[in-house]
């Protein structure tokens, strides 16, 4: 018995990878990482939590809820390690929430960044990656945010909520990004984050002392990548189309013009899409089917009789047109950027592997920009809310 215990204890000591004992107060809990490319160096910013500022228990000081530690280096690892020259503890990336890539770094290529993070044993694969649109990642992470004290947390929550309820954003996690980057038939698309107002104000506590913070972040646009390099941005309309085609859309709002400066509000409650590929006369074709259900949530035009089924039919048609417009615009823009962010190529690879093998090398530059895309859109209005026509005459 003693012998068995001794053997199992030895196994525990020798065989497990459990040597990394670190107490909670020896950690710098990193919630957000920002990467910028600056003068031939990587500038890595770690946004770490000041736990004592977050806790309910202790008195709040005047320190910010989180602190930024920065390191500079030729490789990301070097930059990350350079942080220890400033930081009192070693960083712990296991709870990383959001990874912000500066626009300049994104245009340079994100392979190194993704590679470095994926290699790290501490970081998980489930944090979200975003691109700072026209800004430096560093500035995004320096923002004082209202409600949620931790900016990274605030950004991550906002991204998750808007992905579900607002069409033009997608929450891409590291593993999804790696999938996209490693496949030839689809390109990476990441949501962009923009800073409204001046970053200098956002950095100070005054920012959250106002009703409307002068400086705040906002998700806007989708960054289309070609290979690992940022090649262009999709505007809001195109972003809507993108999320709709790629089946990322859950719920959103669509506005249908119904009169002079008046719009009917449609809430999309569910939307699903399917991409089918065909090869016709040696040329690839793609059919995008979108099936959307929605409710009428705002009736701005009094002349519309929502109790009449034919009106509903009409609204359905108009909504369908709006969806179609978005989709066409998105595909158009992607073709311009020569970036198959929809993954049509991947679909083609699965459905027509022989054809794909012939065209895969020319797909991005020749086949995709000339791809014939047809749309089959179904739209159903299911409900008009708790009332039919407005009581207001």
């Amino acid at each position: 018995m003693l012998y068995k215990i001794a053997i199992s204890m030895l196994c525990l000591l020798m065989l497990t990878g459990c040597w990394s004992r670190r107490e909670l107060n020896e950690l710098l809990i990193v919630l957000g990482v920002g990467v910028d490319w600056e003068d031939g160096h990587y500038l890595v910013s770690f946004q770490v939590v000041n736990p004592s500022e977050i806790s309910n228990q202790q008195k709040r000081g005047d320190r910010p809820p989180s602190t930024l530690f920065q390191g500079r280096g030729k490789t990301l690892f070097e930059a990350a390690r350079a942080v220890t020259a400033e930081a009192p503890r070693k960083v712990y990336a296991g709870h990383l929430q959001i990874y912000v890539i500066g626009e300049e770094a994104a245009r340079r290529g994100i392979n190194e960044i993704v590679d470095n993070v994926a290699r790290d044993n501490e970081a998980r694969m489930d944090f979200n990656i975003i691109v700072a649109k026209g800004a430096r990642a560093e500035d995004v992470l320096k923002l004082y945010t209202p409600v949620e004290k931790l900016p990274s947390y605030s950004m991550q929550q906002s991204l998750q909520t808007s992905e579900k309820n607002w069409a033009p954003t997608i929450a891409v996690t590291l593993d999804e990004a790696i999938n996209k980057l490693s496949s030839q038939g689809s390109e990476l698309a990441l949501t962009g984050i923009r800073i409204i107002g001046s970053p200098e104000v956002g950095e100070t506590k005054q920012n959250v002392e106002k009703f409307l913070p002068p400086s705040r972040f906002r998700y806007s646009g989708i960054a289309a990548f070609k290979d690992d390099k940022l090649s262009g941005w999709l505007n809001e309309k195109e972003s809507r189309g993108y999320t709709d085609i790629t089946n990322n859309l859950v719920s959103t709002s669509i506005a249908i013009p119904c009169g002079d400066q008046r719009y009917l509000g449609i809430e999309v409650t569910s939307s699903s899409s399917k991409i089918k590929t065909r090869v016709a006369n040696g040329y690839p074709e793609v059919e995008v089917s979108i099936r959307t259900e929605g409710n009428v949530v705002e009736r701005a035009c009094t002349d519309m009789d929502l109790s009449d089924p034919s009106t509903i039919k009409k609204v359905e048609g108009q909504t369908k047109q709006a969806i179609l417009d978005n989709a066409i615009a998105a595909v158009q823009r992607a073709k311009e950027l020569k970036s198959d962010i929809f993954g049509f190529g991947t679909r083609m690879e699965k459905e027509h592997p022989v054809f794909w093998n012939q065209v895969k090398d020319q797909w991005r530059n020749e086949y995709f920009p000339q791809l014939k895309v047809t749309y089959k859109i179904k739209m159903f209005i299911r409900d008009t809310g708790t009332i039919e026509n407005s009581t207001i005459r």
Binding site: L12, C18, E23, P51
Partner: protein, 515 residues
Amino acid sequence: MHQQQFTNRSSNNDNQMLPEYANIPIDPAVENNLLRLRRDMGGSDDLVMRKIHNEGMNMAAAAVVYIDGLSNAMAINQYIFDVLDYSLPRYGEDTSTLDTGALAKKLLNGMGPIRTVSDLGSLYQSLLSGEAIILLRGHQYAYCADIREWKGRDVTESTNQTSIRGPRESFTETLRTNTSLIRRKIKDPRLWLETVTIGHLTKTDVTLMYINGLAKPSVLQMVRDRLGKIKIDGILDSGYIEELIEDNKWSLFPTVFNTELPDNVASQLLEGRVAILVEGTPNVLIAPTQMVTFFQSTEDYYQRSFYASLLRILRFGSVFISLLFPSLYIAITTFHRDMLPASLLISLAAQREGVPFPAFFEALIMEITFEILREAGLRMPRAIGQAVSVVGTLVIGQAAVEAGIVSAAMVIVVSVTAISTFTLPAYSMSIPVRILRFAFMGVAASFGLFGIIMGFFVLMLHLCALRSFGEPFMSPLSPYMHTDMQDALFRLPRWLMFKRPDSSMGASSSRIRKN
């Protein structure tokens, strides 16, 4: 004063005699015996000897010997002397030739059974257990009248095993009271008793109770054999017996159940188990026993089965908590931080800011403090005990957190752990859990979750290897016994519990008659 009248004492005490007295015959001369008794007992003044002289005779015709405080002196005065006075003179000086013994015995039968002993060993056995010894001149026998009576505790409500519903009474220190409490619940001739005397000096009566036909003969024989093998000078509590008859003497886990509730013993007897009652203690041993028995409260059988099942699951859960919670906390916060949600991690980290000790030492400090408080609360005079322990816990917990020595989360962990220990109805099972908790904290601090899982494997292997009187300790979980699962992790409604447990005899295993 509580009166204990003993009747029908059956004892096979011949092999338990003090060797030096076993074969010494009783002298026909009463005086010689009395001298001998006085000398043997060093002139102890609770030894009362009263002589009866025949008229005109110097030598005593008879003597009554008893121990003051163990026998009913009133009975001796009123009855024995009356009878002796009445019967002796009538035969004048011929007492040595006549069978006065038989006559006296006949007369004395009016007040209870009379036993005849022929050697000093048996005489002492009877005398010191409170019987009155009647010596008659010219007889090689002594007559023992059972007039035992001493002060004992009343049958009161159990303070250690309380319940909301069900019988309140608990065992006392008197063996005969205890057997009667069980007899009153099982009025069947098949409820058998066997008494042995154990202890060279204490000569403690130990009684086996079982239902003939339900108890497995193999188990019964094993219990008899093990009791027979005990060679010890004294038995003061059933704990002595428990330690001496356990299968695995080095295990942390008790493999003999003990209880002070008669209804618990009765229910276990009905399941074919053997009860071991020891004179002088209210704790009755039950063998064989299983792990799940320690999770069963008698109340489980009196409340509705749904409630009982819920409580069972709760108890199993709380044992896991009290065994593993501190070690899981240590392992997760020091090795596997990834397993915590980010907001919880930050909150825990905030609490740990400024705490100077590693989580393991923090937990150790708090656990040891709690164990000290618990022990102090138990040993302190009852009047101040509870207040001091409650205040102590609060003050130490609160003050330690405010002083920044331990984190608030740790105080919660330790408190929950401590409270969980108390859900177990059997105190004896909470002791190994308390000890093993420290072991688990150690492996958690050195090896993290891997250590905990390995430790748990070792624990499970050990538990599954345990036997209680040859019966597997982890049954019905391992080996899996389908019918016994009716009353293991949960309790089925009474009308679904048809079968007696597997550990009882198969022959009459149906509990409920279906007709």
